[in-house]
Every structure is written in C-alpha cells, then in structure tokens.
Symmetry: C2
Subunit: 245 residues, 2 copies
C-alpha cells in the first residue's frame, strides 16, 4: 500500500469490508501416491462438498499464523506436527465473486508433510481426510484451481530447492527421497544417478552418524540421512523431458 487514495469520503468501515482468509493445500506422499488433505464442509455454501482447509485471518494474526491455527483446528493434527510443517505462500486469489457471500481475498499456502496420521474433522469441518491427488472430486469455491496451482508449484520447486526433504520424516533413506520426486513428478528416476546427484550436492542431505540401517520392505537395508542445511539446489535437479515454472 502507498498513499491511501481515499475515494470520495472514504472510510474503512463504509465500504463493504474485505474478508481475508487463508487456504491450505496440504500435500503428502503416502504409498507412492500424492495425497491432499481435504475437509468436508459443514455449512453453506457448498455444504457437504470437499474443500481445502482454511479460514478467516483474525485481526491480530499474520496470514501464516492463521494458516497453522486453522490447520490444527480443522484437522486435529497435533501441535508439534503443525508447528514443524513446511509452509510456503503460494498465491493470493482476489477475484470478485469467488465467494458468493461476500468479498473474500484468500492467501493460499502449500504445506508439505511426511506421511502423517489420519486427521479428524474439527472446528467447522465435518470431516477431514487424505485423498489421493487423482481422486480429488470437484472442490468448493475456486479450490480446484488452488490445488492445481499448488501441485505445479511444488513440482517446480523440487527442481531448484531441497523442498523434497519436507515430505520425509526426520531420518529417511535415499529411496524414500527419490520416491517423493517420482510421485510428485509422475516419472521414474534412475536410482544410481539420483543417488549421486543428491550426495554430491553440498548440504542437501547429511548421513546419520551411527551406521544404523533401516529396511524399507525387502531388499538391502539403506543408509539413513537427515535434511541438510542447504535450501537451494545448484545446479538444479531437472525433471526428465522437463517443463517447469
């Protein structure tokens, strides 16, 4: 904002006010499929329809704070889960008419989680569930578009950032990390090449000291790694046949 170009007799309370909300596209990788966290609406409009979790920003809150609060309220995810998740502002949706009730501007966030416990409904959400990304029905409001934008955004950021570790538990194998890429991008990657790329990128991952090893299912046990301190990837890890941002 700059100089308040108050139109004739402008008074903040005279206009129909803007409501400011947050919407969350919460994504996880579970069983090799990308899942989104959705809630079933308990009220009109769109009562009974699936929607992204979210809600109003309160007067004292920043949008980021509101995002974490709403997520905890509506999905019953634990405080530590919500406190630790990776939140990233995605886009702000401002079209008049996107909410039939009133003028609503929504700040959308993407959030990434390692495979988490089943959520439960709460707050105004009648129900909360993980749905496989390719089985998501039509959503309320413009949430279809927000979810699509979120998926595209995450896919693009996997190329240039260490974001993928946000989908993994604190200690993970390179196979798990690779599966994040494969799931989000919908491709298969060459295991040896992926391994080299990740290990030669300083700060992407760091080995867990005590050489304990963990088994995925069957097959050779894999070494464990933690997320490193790096945040950007140079050079990037481009997806095959890639298109990006």
């Amino acid at each position: 904002m700059t100089t308040p170009p108050r139109p004739e007799g402008y008074d903040p309370r005279a206009f129909e006010p803007f409501a400011v909300t947050v919407d969350l596209a919460v994504l996880t990788v579970r069983a090799g499929r990308l899942h989104a966290l959705l809630v079933r609406r308990g009220q009109e409009p769109y009562a009974g329809a699936w929607a992204l979790p979210g809600g109003f920003v309160l007067p004292h809150e920043s949008a980021g704070t509101a995002a974490r609060r709403e997520l905890a309220e509506e999905t019953g995810l634990s405080g530590t889960t919500v406190a630790g998740l990776h939140l990233e502002q995605l886009h702000t949706y401002t079209e008049p008419g996107r909410d039939p009730r009133m003028r609503v501007v929504s700040v959308a966030y993407t959030a990434l989680l390692p495979d988490p416990p089943e959520p439960r409904g709460g707050g105004d959400a009648a129900e909360a569930r993980w749905l496989p990304h390719d089985e998501v029905p039509a959503l309320a409001f413009d949430h279809d578009r927000i979810l699509a934008d979120a998926r595209a955004h995450v896919g693009a950021r996997l190329e240039h950032t260490c974001l993928a570790t946000a989908f993994c538990p604190p200690e993970f194998t390179l196979g798990e990390l690779r599966q994040v890429y494969e799931t989000v991008w919908g491709v298969t990657l060459d295991r040896p090449n992926f391994r080299r790329k990740v290990l030669t990128t300083p700060g992407f991952v760091e080995p867990v000291e005590g050489p304990p090893r963990r088994t995925g299912a069957r097959g050779k046990p894999a070494a464990l790694y933690r997320a490193g301190r790096a945040t950007a990837l140079h050079p990037p890890l481009l997806r095959p046949e890639g298109r990006s941002a």
Copy 2:
C-alpha cells in the same frame, strides 16, 4: 477460504475490516542500470518519503486490475504502456502493524518495462521517478523488503523463464537482451555463449524478417529479434557462480 469459522456472533462488519491494497515493484533497465519506479508520498504517514506505487483495491476489482489502475493513476504512464506491461504477483504481506493506521494486507506485484518515458506524479503521489536500484533510499512501510524481494524474484526468474524480453522493446538486439541479464544479475556474460544459448532455445526469440539492422551506438549493426512464444527455458540459463530461489 473454507468453512467460515465465524467466531461467536461473527459479522463481517463487526470486525475492524481489513483493507486490501496492491503495491508495485516496477523495474526497468536504463543505461545499464536497474531502476525502480518510486513515488513520493503526499500524505501522512510517511509524507515526503519515497514508496512503491500502489493503493487500495476497490470493491469490484481484482488485485491485478487494481495494480494496473493505480500504476496509471500515480505515474501518468499511458494506458497502452500500462496495459502491455508484464505483471506478476510476487507475495502478499500480512503482518499486523505494517501500516500504522489500520490493518492492511497488501498484494505485491512485480512489473517489468522496457526503458519508458519519465513518469509524472498523479493521484496521491506528489512525484514519480525512476531511481537507480542502488540509490533507492529507505522507503515507507515495509516497501524496502518488498523491493528487495522483487529484485530477488526477478533475478531468479530470469534463469528459468523468458521474462527478460519483458524488459525489452518489441524489437530488440541480442546485445540489449544480454544487457538485461547482466544488469539484473550484476555480472558480465560471455557474448558468444549467450547468443548461442538464446538462439538454440526454441521459442525464446524469433528473428525479425526483413533483415533490417539497427545500430546500438557504434560497432557492427545487430540483427533484430522479437520475443517468441515460449515462456519457460529448458534447460535453464543459470547465472555464473549462481545462487537462486
């Protein structure tokens, strides 16, 4: 937004309303230096201080529409100039207290222009000017941060998109395009390699048919190009020693 979690007795008009504004980080390359379009505030708070152009979103507008309107009002740039510029949503700033008067949520945009005419003040802006990026004084509100974010964002997007052509006139030489990169990144690029990279990227630029040639200053006349239809760059054009997003 999702289920409206109306706190007890919630009524949109009962809360102190949120104001929604847009702020614009308008950048151009002029004389080999990155410039930002700034306005001098005519009113309190921060009267007399430099700030980004911007203003309130009106009830019937989307934020993008408001951005173009405010830019035309405050800087006197022509309608065609404003209509044609490349606008990109950057980030939304929501911290309580970022405006001392009231709760203001601001949707920030970056806009890129080819070297344009000098703007004039208008609307609520006492004065509008291009300032070299490294001579920008402390700005009103949190506009310093917005401008810094915009510069970082543009620099990163030059690597992966055809955004650089937005800084160029409809027909331009490869030297002009290269200068955009060099100016924004603050590096010098190898001319032959830059040329090859641009020309071998399908859809980045296309040659202007009639082999007219234009002289920059002295030196051999250069061939002219138009922006192509491509929007993404694959593979990317990474900045040397690069760091990015």
